[in-house]
Subunit: 169 residues, 2 copies
């Protein structure tokens, strides 16, 4: 019990760093999702969504972080690493975690529209694929979800303002 | 009927270029999978698997090609493009095609161990995700599969030879 509480405290501490990455994404006009990958007690990768900035459909936070982490460890096998993600990974990113043989994934908010670690798919736990990993959701879920909600609310507001301006012309 | 035959002829012509990419991968000691992405009548991306060379779990041929294609068109929306892949895409790559809003995917050999365009999953045709695309398998399937079979056979042979040498010492 004490161990479980200690693990949750540690998970929350790392998730706060992932949240800081998500906020950086939001400030850059990107859907705010952030990731930290931890090996031992060290963050070996920090990244945020950069799809618009890089004009790259594959530039989700998780993908960038996986490339960084493999570079840091000089191997694409990340079985000793844990990834902290503010939003449940999509099929692309969950599939990438399987290929990377990730040790564990901890995420914040569930993604009802595309989550592939328990919501729409359970790619992390498919015995037909060549790797399975534990995926734990709900860590700082409220904060992780709030960053996204605020971003989309602001974007809708800006869109409405532009439409009103267009009508005024 | 004539149209379908004409389309198949065109698909096979592009798949031959993807096969040439797969062979390049094999020569570099990579699992031989190749991709060409076509827009209009132009190849805007050609890539092969580079996971070992780049030490990157995300460096499947499809991912590299998607990044190239988005860069070429200066948008991550690739709805007018067709991807030719020698092997059925895995969950990561099929998920990436969904995110890229790819127009169509044509592949060669089925992948019983990880195929996500009809075999283990049908990520290309999930109404819950925000994009669907037609995925056509079996184009030059024999040649595409043969490149893989030969690669793994040679690798097993090399391994056995090394083991025998070790026993001789």
């Amino acid at each position: 019990m004490a161990d479980a509480q200690e693990e949750l405290r540690r998970d929350e501490a790392w998730m706060k760093l992932a949240l800081a990455q998500a906020r950086l994404a939001g400030e850059a006009g990107e859907v705010p999702v952030g990731v930290v990958i931890v090996h031992g007690e060290r963050a070996i990768a920090r990244a945020h969504n950069q799809r618009e900035t890089l004009v790259d459909p594959t530039a989700h936070a998780e993908m960038i972080a996986l490339t960084q982490a493999a570079s840091s460890l000089e191997t694409w096998r990340l079985d000793g690493a844990t990834a902290y993600v503010t939003l449940e990974p999509c099929p692309m990113c969950a599939g990438a975690f399987v290929l990377a043989r990730i040790g564990r994934v901890v995420f914040g908010a569930n993604d009802p529209k595309g989550g592939a670690c328990g919501t729409l798919y359970s790619l992390h736990d498919d015995p037909r694929l060549n790797h399975r990993f534990p995926a734990v959701g709900g860590v700082l879920a409220a904060e992780c979800g709030e960053v996204l909600t605020r971003f989309f609310r602001a974007r809708r507001g800006a869109k409405r303002m532009n439409e009103n301006r267009a009508n005024d012309v």
